[in-house]
Amino acid sequence: MSHTPAKPSATVVIGIGASAGGVEALQAFFASDKGIVDAGYLVVLHMQKARPSRLVEILARKTSMPVVHAEDGMTVAPGRVHVIEPGSVMTVADGRLVVTVAPKTERSPTTIDRLFNSLAQDYNDFAIGVVLSGTGADGALGLKAIKERGGITFAQGEDGSAPLFPEMPESALAAGVIDLHLPVEKIAQRLVGIVSSMHQKASPKTANENNDRLCKEICALLEVQVGHDFSGYKQSTFVRRVERRMSVLQLSTLEAYVACLRKTPSEVTLLFRDLLISVTSFFRDVESFDLLAKEVIPEIFHNKKNTDELRVWVPGCATGEEAFSIGMLLLECADALGRPGPTIRVFATDIDESALGIARKARYPEVLLDGVPLALREKYFIRDQDHYVVHKRLRDVCTFSAHNVLRDPPFSRIDLVSCRNLLIYLGQEFQDRILPILHYALRPDGFLFVGVAEGATRHSQLFSPISKKHRVFRRLDAVTGVLPLPLMTASNRHTAHRFATELSGASSTSLRKQIEARVLQAYMPAYVLINAQGEAVFYSAGTGRYLEFSPGAPSRHLLSNARKELRLSLRRSLHEAISNHARVTLPEIIVPRDDGLRKVHLVVEPFDGGPTPLYLVLFIDQGPAALTSDHQHSGVALSFDDLERELRDTRDQLQTTYEEFETAIEELRVANEELMSMNEELQSSNEELETSKEELQSVNEELQTVNAEMGRHVEALDLANADLQGLIESTGIATIFLDSKLAIRSYTQAATDIFTLIPSDRGRLITDLAHQLVDFDLERELNSTLVQRKTVQLSTTRRDGRKHYLTCLLPYSASTGDLAGVVMTFVDVTALTEADARHRVMIGELNHRVRNMLAVVTAIASQTLRGVSTTQGLEQFLDRLHAMARTYKLLTEANWSNMSLSDLLREELGAVTGTNRFEFDGPIIELDPKYSLAMGMVFHELTVNALKYGGLSNERGNVLVRWRVDGDRDVTIDWIESGGPLVAEPAHRGFGSALMDHQIAYELDARCDRAFKPEGLEVTIRFSFAGNPP
């Protein structure tokens, strides 16, 4: 694939992946990102399917860049943020977004990996991948793909605003694919520089020759520091890797980078690792794998029966590609065998659990499968969109487990160790320690397969090369070295190593030191450095004269290796020196040698200088001993003194040994007891763990239930929210929602007619805004709403008078009972108000007309009837009309609603009599218009009668009108005249009394009784508000 994308614009694309805790991290990211206009942003967040996301709105608040939902076919525009929709997969092809529906069957999400994979394919070294907070390992392999193609990778770091869920960034780190591990704010800042340097990279290169020279210099630096020659590497690959590092460091010129390499050795190491990044890919270094497949593996199979087990160990397997590569080769070979082959087991180990987690998933983005031949790809992988899942057969062969090569016991009986990724991360010292371990793990004739940077050549006694070029070695059997198994205590190894380096270092400096070294070599006494347990830690040259190996299992214990002549004296002096921690000298011990007896001066002295006590045992040769007859015939003619002394010595020795033995027994007993109690403790903590595990299990189940319930509630809430939103958007009623502090929470469009509102006014105090209403003290009304917690309702008019509103301020409470806020509604009642006004005008006009009509009728009647009828008749007629007109007037004034009985009486009596010789007594009774008109006529007739014949006809009499209400609706009115002339029942009844009796009887169902008492007329009127009380 070409590494210079043929895009219309060499846009840099930044892919950002996040999961749990990602919204916060994204907000922080975009808040501190001041907008890189020439890079496109693609944001992928693990979201629950079928739930609409507000992420776009959330991010839009934080950044000045446009934020959009990713749509299929959309161009990746620079300076724009494209956000994935829930339940979809966003990838990129030819600079355009490809959005598809996410497969339902996925157990763990891979949306980030998919995006990063496509970015790597489409943008190569113009892609940037960022992994923020989240759980799981999504994104790690995607970042690997990006880095593989020369892009830059970021992970959210621990310091600063740490990720809420660091698992996802940590997985990426564990996969070893992160260039920059920074807090989220710093990522955004660093991106600015990196993007601009990427743009520079896109511009044409200058001065190729100069670059060649600098590249050579870089190669030289690498060779000096890490001992690997990269001059044979493909120039373009090499330059691309160097440019990547330059981008990360924000260096613009090769010169600056070379200077940086010179200054900081750690950068050399980082470049070295970058150059070797692809070692972890499938079948990287195809030729080496070819050799493995053609020569090594068939040989392993050849020696196996079908009952055997073929064991392969891949230490430092990282994300598993190497293990699967070898697994494929093994399975291929087994298939080609044509007979039942041995059981194949590939042990792939790493110290990092999260990297192993990725390996166990056995699911790789397409980019990482570049090295897999098509035939193998079809056979051992199942394609799942742009990912490949390892076939079960291959997956079953490989066992992934956490294991530390340096600390944990090694595997054993291994046929092939493939260790192509581990040693580059380790220094020389650790490499030297690991190779013997690998040697130990292998069967005789087992094979070792190491990476480009690691050499087994320095351990030629352990391994013999089959191919130096491809670094395949065969285990050698005859080995004299001591296996520094991890079981050894650290201090021993360390001390030994220190001495070795010090001594070898001293021999290579100045002339004086050379001479001293020569002298030391020639005349130095033999010595052994031992620890307090008597185990040898270091041997000098020439100790062979004093030491010899004892038969049986090899031991490092000095005493078991000392010559028997020395053993007793050595034991005694060692014991003395160790227990007293003081120098002990034993003169003149006779030691037989090939060239005769020698006198040896034995010195044991404490050697201070290490963390653990060490003792130096010196064997100082004192020259030949005299050949005495005693010695020649030892055991036969020893002098008595000698025998005695030897016996004494032996007894002492025996005593010492016995005591040592006792102590050892005691120590063992104590140790045993300790072990027992520790065992019990472990047992009980195991039980505790078991219990808490069960508890956790149940808590987990509960949480799951609660979570499901929450999910349902959230759904219901979403629905209700959508309804509410729809209502707010569609309603024509101006509504403003205020919180308890009177700040605007939301409002409907119609409210902008009354308040000058713009979206950014949300959160402002409503009282700070001007409104368009006349005589409306908003602050006062709101305060009274808040204080009294009562709905306030009032009519308002807009300043221009065009609109009238029924304004309603409604306080509402939260579920806690506290005031949650106030809803202000302004219902447009303009049409109603206008109709009302028109109505009033019309009623006024009609009232006027009615009374006018009565006046006209009066006029016509008096004009027409004058002279035709009797004057009395005409006067009566006119009086009646006037009485009716008066009642009409009262009714008009009362707006044709109810009027009080006393008003009706006062009007009639007052108008007609012109006196105040009347009294009223009774409760307030309201009469409706029908009753008023009828009763008005009755009172008129009674008044006229009283004026003519009754209580008001003289100067003394008066009228008492008394009324009462019984049982709410039965009304009794008494008209009592007194003080008038004597009355008698009239001979005949005129129209007046007929009208009185019949009209109210007919219209009101009333009864009218008369009593002509001597003191005056008494009229009693009874009626009932039939079903219609006043």
Binding site: K930, L995, H998, Q999, Y1002, E1003, N1028
Partner: protein, 127 residues
């Protein structure tokens, strides 16, 4: 109107006593017999239970109700109706639009002409 074997019986529904009495007296003089007058729907219905008038003269609005509830009974009894009202004809409910209509105030001869017409149309034998 000539005096027939029997005087035509006319139901009068009117809540204003003055108008009711005046109209009733005028109809009597015209040779008709008046059933009622009735000031309420209930009273009118009770009259209709007792007798079967030849026609009905009804006001539209009574004191607290309208005469609308009488109409189905009158229609069922096939009694021709003349409506009296202070409202204009167009203001009345559609239910009333099929009846003869006299706007208040009216002259008695107008009423008589309408009564005679309706009686002649519906009861030729008694006309």
């Amino acid at each position: 109107m000539t005096a027939g074997a029997t005087a035509p019986l006319i139901l009068l529904v009117e809540d204003e006593w003055l108008i009711a009495t005046t109209v009733a007296e005028a109809l009597n003089q015209h040779g008709c017999e008046v059933l009622g007058p009735a000031p309420t729907v209930a009273r009118a219905l009770s009259f209709l239970e007792a007798a079967h008038p030849h026609m009905a003269i009804i006001d539209f609005r009574l004191a607290r109700e309208t005469t609308e509830d009488i109409l189905p009974v009158l229609d069922a009894m096939k009694i021709p109706v003349c409506v009296l009202s202070g409202y204009a004809a167009a203001q009345l409910p559609t239910r009333y639009q099929c009846y003869r209509f006299l706007e208040k105030p009216f002259r008695m001869h107008e009423l008589f002409a309408t009564v005679d017409e309706l009686l002649a149309e519906n009861h030729p034998s008694s006309g």
